[in-house]
């Protein structure tokens, strides 16, 4: 940051560097707000797929902004252009800013070349949420999937991103996997870059 080490006096408040601000918000406040977001969207839809899509769209807007902010704040206005670069940016930088920790794991799909997975033992948005049985495989992680899609799309890596519950052996609770399936053009470009 500018002026670190020496106490510089700024006559004008506008000349002062922008502080990073407080980095954390109350988890309870977030949980209530997120709960309201889900409840509101539930009243606007008549099926679960639609609810998932709406949550994803809400996340998309966050992702687009987060990309903009972090490229400026952390990377000196530079943006990742390679596939693995942007994935690790999402997995570590984005996750750390949003959830206070890096994601538990980032893996490449075994069956398809264009699939990557970010797994989290307990996704922050799902901390207090129990999905009722009649909603099947619905996962509120759709919001986080939307964030990831927003970041990737903004960086020029269009992809289809979905959130799934994956049961873990010996664990009562399933973990959440964010599945990223890149568009064909991304892989073609990646191959050309070598």
């Amino acid at each position: 940051m500018i002026g670190v080490g020496k106490t510089k006096q700024y006559a004008n408040v506008l000349d002062r560097p922008i502080s990073k601000g407080k980095q954390e918000v109350s988890l309870s406040a977030f949980a209530f707000l997120f709960s309201e977001l889900v409840q509101y969207n539930q009243t606007q839809v008549d099926n679960i797929a639609e609810l998932e899509r709406r949550l994803e769209d809400a996340g998309y807007a966050v992702g687009a902004r987060v990309l903009e902010l972090l490229c400026h704040r952390e990377k000196g206005n530079r943006r990742e252009t390679r596939l693995l670069g942007i994935l690790s940016f999402v997995h570590s930088t984005v996750w750390k800013v949003l959830f206070g920790k890096v994601a538990d794991s980032l893996e490449k799909g075994t069956e398809h070349e264009d699939e990557y997975m970010i797994s989290e033992k307990e996704l922050l948005v799902n901390r207090f949420i129990s999905v009722p049985k009649d909603m099947g495989t619905f996962n509120c992680g759709a919001f986080v999937a939307g964030i990831v899609r927003g970041v990737l799309d903004g960086a020029g890596f269009p992809a289809v991103v979905t959130a799934h519950f994956v049961p873990v052996d010996g664990q009562q609770r399933p973990r959440t996997t964010i599945l990223i399936k890149f568009a064909e053009e991304v892989l073609v470009r990646e191959a050309r870059l070598g």
Binding site: S28, A31, F32, F34, S35, E36, L37, V38, Q39, Q42, F128, I129, S130, V131, P132, M135, C140, Q172, R173
Partner: protein, 141 residues
Amino acid sequence: MPAVYSLYIINKSGGLIYHKDYGSAGRMDTNDSLRLASLWHSMHAISQQLSPVAGCTGIELLEADTFDLHCFQSLTGTKFFVVAAPGTQNMESLLKHIYELYTDYVLKNPFYEMEMPIRCELFDINLTQAIQNDRFALLGR
């Protein structure tokens, strides 16, 4: 032998929204549980009116020959009560802890409808854990 026999949560109008038995002592069928819940709700309300002490908040502990009934009422009128073996200690803190779990895993769950029966997997898991920890704490003493 388990110290806590059963746990009840009743909403502000006296309807039973959660009930769980631990161990085989003092088990009741569903109708009796519902009856006990609304009976307790009324007794609690009447006790507030009858109490000679000003600002009484209702019965906190009912001692009987074979059980103790500890009750905790939240600010919104939701009542939590446990039926436990006579002389079981530390029930106030257990009830406070259960209240905390309720605010976390029930009230922050978007799929829970206020004043309706509680069906939340995470609440069940954490509650079982809390009761178990409480039991271990008793054994350790």
